[in-house]
Every structure is written in C-alpha cells, then in structure tokens.
C-alpha cells in the first residue's frame, strides 16, 4: 500500500516507522528538510521536503497513485487543506487528519467531515486519545496498562504480579477449571523483559507482567483474583493543564460521582484557559515540581496524581515527588519508550505512551479486513487486533482448535450476537462474530491473512 505521511514530527515519524516496518510504500512530507532527512536516514521511507498542502508538493510525493494520505502536521488547518487537495486533485481514497483544536472536534459539527464537505475519513486527535487512556488508567488503578475492546465490553488489563498474589505457581489450565465462571484469559506474560504468549501448562510467577483479557463486568473480580484491590478515587491531582490534562479534568467533572480534581499548570495563559473551561476543578498556577505547590494541592491525601505535561522528565519527577509526599498512586505520561523500564525503580504505578495510543488509532484504519481496533503493546512488541470475521475469511465456520493460528497468537474474547463468550477450543467462530486477537508482532501479518478474504472466494 502506498501511503503519504505529511508531517515528520513525533506522530508522523512514529506512524512512518510502524508502516514502513510492515512493508508499505511510505513517503514522508515535511516543511523541514532536517526532519525529512532524519526519517529517510533511519527508516525505509522516501522523503519530500515542502509545504504539505501545496498540490505540487503532494504530486512530487506521488499522491496521484497513493492509497492513503495521513496529515499529521502541527497545524490543523494545513492538515484539513492537505486532505482537501488530496481528495480534489489526486482523488486519494483514504484521508486521515490529525486535528488538535477541540473546537474542530465538537460532535455537533461532525457533519463537516463528510465526503462532499471537507473530505476527511478519519479524524485523529492525539490529545483526546491520550486523555482517554489516562481515564482508563484511573479507572483501573491496579493495572499498569488498560484498553477497552468490543465496544467497551471487554478490557485488556496489564497487571504486575506481586509475591502475595493468590494464583502464582499454578498452571493456567487449573485456573480455568478453578474459576469456571470467570470470563478472563491470560493472553500474554512478560517475564524478565521478554513478552510471550502462554500455553495452558505455563505458570505465573511473582514479578511477571500479565496481560489479561477480561469481560468488563468481571474486571473487578479478575483484579481481586490476581491480588489487586479495586479502590475508589475521589481526590485527583493533575500536573499539566494542556489539552490532555484539560480533557481528563473535563471528563472527570462530567462524572456523576463527585471527584475532587486539582490541576497544576506552569503557563499562566494555559492555566487561565483551563480555569475558564472547568467548573469545579481548582487550577493552581506554578511549577508541578514545587513541593509547596504540591502541598497546596493537598497531595498527601490525594488518591492519584496524573503527570501529563509535555516534558517526560517533569512528568517522572512530579510523579516521584508526589509519591514521596504521600500520594497513593502516580500515573505519568512518557513519550520516550526507552524510559518505560524506569517505572519500576521510580515506583510509578502506570504510564501512558501517547505514541502507542495515537499509532494504535491510526493502525486500525490501515489494517486489512474488517479490523475495528488495534492496540499496540509495549514498544511494538505485540498487538491486540479487534476484527469482524467476514464470511469469506478462512476462519469463518471453524472451531478455534481447528484454525491454523501461528504460535504467538491467542484469542482473547469472542463476541457472538452481542454476547461476550470466553473462547475455548470448542468455540465455533461464525461469520459476523467479532474477535479480539493477541498477536506477537512477527505474527501480525499471518493473522491479517486469516482475517482477509480467502483464495477460495475467487
């Protein structure tokens, strides 16, 4: 597939890396030749330096035979115009634009992005998605990673196994028999840094990081079985009042149960903007690393601190300082994936990787078949793919045990006629079912092949 990515910044570069790694023909367009060169040097992509929305620049990038344009420059307006040019001049089939300004994302104006208005097929908003990820982390404080699938009916939970976990040193097969009504499956285990898909005979050991697929209704029970207590969160401190922090605070204010939110923001204008948009939240102006200010935010009695500034180091230090001052839980936004191993030593309970969330949301529109959702785990080590089974797919009508799945894959959940079913070997996959598959990166291509139209069809 031929893809043009406009903007070689954080998001653009990450998408380019992901797509070029999957043998796509990727061209990167950016105004800054330096960024273009960085992309062409490190990735298997072509580069064009120029203003992304100019028709001649897009033409040079090969827009006339491109399958998709992803507009992820810093300017919303440039992204919009790029999509319009790609549509009107080059008739590119699929157009994805990144829009940051919340005003463009108001559902009341969603009509704007229709084909004959402003032809953008998919609007992605990194800030909004990161805010959602942050909310999910808050909802499941015991898990270090969460993502919802199947219309929010199933959850992927990443849990750190402690030494006092009741289910350690037990084969997974026994666990299945023991909790026969629990709709949860262990889909992945990271042991000593290596992620693998467990088989029925594998056991869970302390210090393992487990990825578990659970029915949303059974989330609390699952966490209890794995030795995590689900606690309510009433006092939350947010460090950083940008789009992410503001989005989280707005969502928390909209909740029915009362949550006391305090926000700390360094930039006065940004803080004023947040204070105007928020009603009950108290916005404090100052440095999130300042212990006096954290004390003013009453960090000692806070249930959780959410460090979501645009600077990784500030986030980490703010989280560490808050924990040290008595906050019970710390969640940090981390852009640099190489910093994630520091979470354990720094005693930070969970992290959000904005790239993973954004890339996930773009990937779901690139995948073949009826892929509805893709979530990238770790540093692109594995993916969870949510897909609808087509009648022409080779897996339709077969029992799971008969399907020729590659080694590193596991079905997490199956949704049949709106019901979440826990997959066993005897479960028959029918046409129209939605399945969530956990797949190691190397096996993603094979899983895609299974989800695609089979040869017999022609």
């Amino acid at each position: 597939m031929k893809v043009i990515i406009c903007g070689a910044g954080q998001v653009g570069w990450q998408i380019a890396r992901h797509l070029s790694g999957e043998k796509n023909d990727v061209t990167v367009v950016d105004f800054n030749p330096e960024l273009v060169r960085r992309a062409t040097d490190t990735l298997d992509v072509q580069g064009v330096a120029g203003f992304a929305s100019y028709p001649d620049v897009l033409d040079r990038a090969g827009a006339s035979d491109a399958d998709m344009v992803i507009a992820a420059t810093h300017s919303d307006e440039v992204n919009m115009v790029t999509c319009q040019v790609a549509h009107s001049v080059f008739s590119v089939q699929r157009k994805i634009a990144r829009l940051r300004a919340q005003n463009y994302l108001d559902p009341a104006y969603a009509d704007l992005y229709r084909r004959n208005h402003l032809p953008i097929d998919v609007v992605i908003s990194p800030e909004r998605e990161v805010a959602e990820a942050a909310l999910q982390r808050l909802a499941a404080p015991a898990a270090f990673d969460t993502e919802s699938f199947l219309d929010g009916r199933a959850q992927l939970l990443g849990i750190m196994i402690d030494a006092d976990c009741p289910v350690i040193n037990t084969p997974l097969r026994q666990l299945t028999d023991l909790f026969s009504t629990l709709r949860a499956v262990v889909v992945g285990i990271r042991r000593e840094g290596a992620l693998f898909v467990p088989s029925a005979g594998d056991q869970i050991f302390p210090d393992d990081e487990c990825y578990i697929f659970a029915d949303t209704e059974d989330t609390t029970r699952t966490l209890e079985i794995f030795g995590k207590i689900h606690s309510k969160q009433e006092r939350i401190v947010i460090v950083g009042g940008g789009n992410v922090g503001l989005g989280v605070a707005l969502a928390l204010e909209a909740r029915t149960e009362r949550v006391r939110v305090k926000m700390i923001e360094k930039n006065r204008e940004c803080a004023e903007r947040a204070a105007d948009a928020l009603d009950r939240t108290i916005v404090l102006h100052g440095d999130g690393l300042d212990s006096a200010l954290l004390e003013e935010a009453n960090i000692a009695t806070a249930d959780a601190v959410l460090a979501v500034t645009d600077d990784d180091k500030t986030n980490l230090l703010a989280a560490v300082r808050s924990k040290e001052m008595g906050c019970r839980m710390a969640i940090s936004l981390v852009n640099d994936p190489t910093l994630t191993p520091l979470m354990g030593p720094l005693d930070i309970d969970a992290y959000i990787n904005p790239r993973a969330t954004t890339v996930s949301s773009i990937l779901r529109h690139i995948r073949h078949g009826r892929v509805r959702g893709v979530y990238s785990i770790g540093d692109a080590e594995a993916e969870v793919i949510e897909a609808q089974v087509l009648g022409t797919s080779p897996i339709a009508g077969q029992c799971i045990k008969d399907i020729d799945f590659p080694e590193g894959t596991l079905i997490g959940a199956v949704m049949q006629q709106g019901e979440i079913v826990r997959p066993t070997g005897e479960t028959r996959i029918e046409e129209g079912n939605v399945i969530a598959i956990f797949a190691m990166s190397d096996d993603v291509a094979e899983v895609e092949r299974l989800l695609q139209v089979s040869i017999d069809f022609f």
Binding site: E272, A275, D276, I282, V283, L284, E296
Partner: protein, 506 residues
Amino acid sequence: MGWIVRLPFFVILMGLGSVAMIVPAAHAAIMEDFGTMRVFFYGFILFSILTLMIGLATAGYAPRSIARSQLIGLLAAFTALPVMFAIPFYEAVGNTTFLNAWFEMVSSFTTTGATVYDTAARLTPSLHLWRGLVGWMGGLLVWVTAVSIFAPMNLGGFEVRATGSAGGGATGSFTQIAQIADPSERLARYTMTLTPIYMGLTVALWIGLVIAGEFPYIALIHAMSTLSTSGISPIGGLYFAASQFWGELLIFCFFAFALSRLTFSRGLAGERDQGLRRDPEFITALVLIGTVTLLLFLRHFIGTAEQAGPADLKDIFSALWGALFTVTSFLTTTGFESRLWEGATEFSGLSTPGLFLIGLALIGGGVATTAGGVKLLRIYALYRHGEREQQRLLHPSSIGGGGKDARRIRKQGAYISWVFFMLFALSIAAVMLMLSLTGVQFETSMVLAVSALSTTGPLAVVAAEAPIAYSGIPDAAKAILAFAMVLGRLETLAIIALFNPEIWHR
C-alpha cells in the same frame, strides 16, 4: 439640520429646555390657569431668543476636544440649566425664594425628586407637571449621555468592564481603516435611538396607569418620574394614588428599566450581547431585592408572631408586597413608597427599618440607567473580587475561571469600583461634614447626604426616624445638597476625569 448638531452641547440642551416650557404653558392654558400659562410662555420666548443668540454666537465654535467639551457641557447642564428652569417656576409660584426654586429644579433635573414644597397643594398642577417634566428630561439626558459620552470615555460604570483606563477616551488605533464616530455624531445617533424608546415606555406606563384608574395628569407625572427614577409626585406619594394596587404593580414592572441597561439598549455600547438572564446587574438586583424583602418580611412576621396570634393571609400578602415594592423602588433610587408599606410596619408594630432603605439607595440601580448610587455593576465587581480573594485564602496560587471578561471585572473592575466606592464614601463624609457646619443634626445630615448623592430625594421622608422636611433646613445646606445632587448624578469619576491632565493636554 446638520448645523444644530454642530452647536455646543450645552446650547442644544438649553434650546430643548426652553422649548419644553411650552408643555406647562399649554397645560396651564387648558386648566385656565392663565397666570402660570403666561409665565411659562414668556419663559419659552425669552429663553428661545437667548438660546438663538448664543447659538448664533457659538455657531463657528470648534472645540479642541469635542469629548471634553461635551463633558463640560454636561456638567454645565446639571448646574446652570436649573437656573433657567427655575426662573419661570419662581415667577409662577410667586411666594417663594429663588434659592428654593433653583433647589427644586436641580433636584428635579438630577432625578433626585427632593422637594421643598411639603404640601403638594402649594403648587398648581402645571407647576407639578413642570417638575415632573424637568425630571423626565434629566432622565433622558442621563440615558443618552451614558451611552454616547460616558461609554466611549470609560466612565459612569463602563470603566468596570472596559479594557482601557477610566476617563481615557476612545482613541482608536484603526484610523487608517475605520472612521471614528465624531462625538456629536454619536450623540445625535443615540438620541434618535433612545428618545423614542424612552417616550414610548413613558406613554405605555401612562396609559397603563390611566386604565388602572388614575387621573390622567397624575398618571403622566407618575409615569415620567418612574421612568426617570425621580420619584416626583403631585399628590405627595403613591399613598394617595387612585390606581392603588394595580397602579403599583404597573410601576413595579417599569422599575426594571432602572435595574439594567440591557432592558432597553441592548448592544448599543458595542459589547457582547449576553441577554438579560445572564446580566450580572440584573441578577445582582434580583438577589438583593429578594434577600432584603425576605428579611424585612420575616422581621415583620416574627414581630407579629411574638405579639399577637396568627395574622390572616391578606395582611401577610400586603406586608410582603409593601416590602417588595418599596425595596425595589429605593434600589432604583426612585423613592416611591408602597401604600402597603405603612401597613406592613403597622401590622408588626415595629418601626420602619430606614437603614435598609439607605443602604439600598446607596447601592443604586444599573449602569447607564436613570438610577443613581454606587451602581449594581460596581457592587457585583466588588462581590466577585471578595469571593475570589476567599478562594485565594484556601489556594494562594489558584487561578480563577469564568473567562477573560470575568477576570478583568475581578481585577481591574474591582479596583476601579473600589476607587469609586471610596470616593462615594468620602463624598458622603464631606457632604455630611458641610451640612453639620450649617447646623443640621448628625442623623439628619447623614440621611440628607445619602439621599442627595444617590439621587433618591424621598429617602429623607421615609428613612429617618422622623420625616425630614427639606423646607426646614438652612439655605446654605440646600445649596450644598444641590451640588451634592449634581455630584451624585454625574459621578465623582466623571468630574475627576475633567481634571485629568490628558483631557486638557493641548
């Protein structure tokens, strides 16, 4: 007609004032009171010719700063024009001093409505009409000048929300691309816009009162004094009005025009149209009226419960209405007293809580309305500031929300409001001091000072322990009060703005 607009502001006002003398002259002719008719008609001729001559002499007058000349013209209008109004009045009354006549006219024109003629029968109906008419014209002058002169100069309450400094004037920086409206052009335009509204509202209330059973002539004066919040009455108050409760209800509805400018001139001063329901002034007014009425009512109610048995429903209602009407009337600085107000006090056996009314008159009505006092917007700004400061006690580095405008009101708005409030308080102290020097008692001088500065003349009769008669105070005190009225009407800031070196800068 263009040359009329180019005349100095004061000359135009003088011309309008002399033409207005035809009204009492015509009324007197119909009433067959030919003596009065002659005086006012001669007044009309005399002052018309005088105006014409001054107009001819000043036709080529081109002031260096039209805005300043208008401000001075306004000051002159409130001090010098009453002299012109007083001359026919003095002649027609016959048995009065000129000082009294002048005081009466200043008090009418500044929409204060304080009268030295305690017994209404001492003046003929045409003279009462003249008082009412002068008050009505004063009200119209305030309506028009507030939007056309004060708003561009960020004065008269507009400074609370303005981005520029008070008295700074509207020096736009877009001279290249836009034409800045000439101040006299602006004045003419707003006069054309607002006069029909003001007249229409007056006529509507007049007709309404007549339907409610009032005598047309009394109804007209009451309508004019309601719209201009002067509180002038030819029969010594609403207590004697024939329209009774329904008349009061109608007048009550028209008090709304003194609570917020948005009731009649929405979007005129160029600010964002936010609707009456979200107007801080209107909300503040409603909260104040509601709280004070309830407090007064509860006070009466508990007073009754202690003394006698349960009161009947009619008494309760009339006490509630009396309190509601009087409270609103004093908040708008009109000063009408409900006919049920006395009943409300009698029914509990408690004395009139005059201090409440003094406080309400001090607060006053809305910005750019005919009401006087400190103005609701300033009170709102101070309240918001206080609220914010309390939040800052809890969280010293917190940031207040509400938007850019709200932040400006809380900071610069509250600051300038506080300055104004202190100036107002100092003026009260100064006026009280001067009154005391002339031999007026302390409490009396306090009530008189507040009533003059807040332009609520009838306050003196209602608020004090024993009614104060303006006729009983020394002549020097009357002159002081007259100047206090002008000060209260024009607002201290506007007069201080006149001394702003920037304005005099060549």
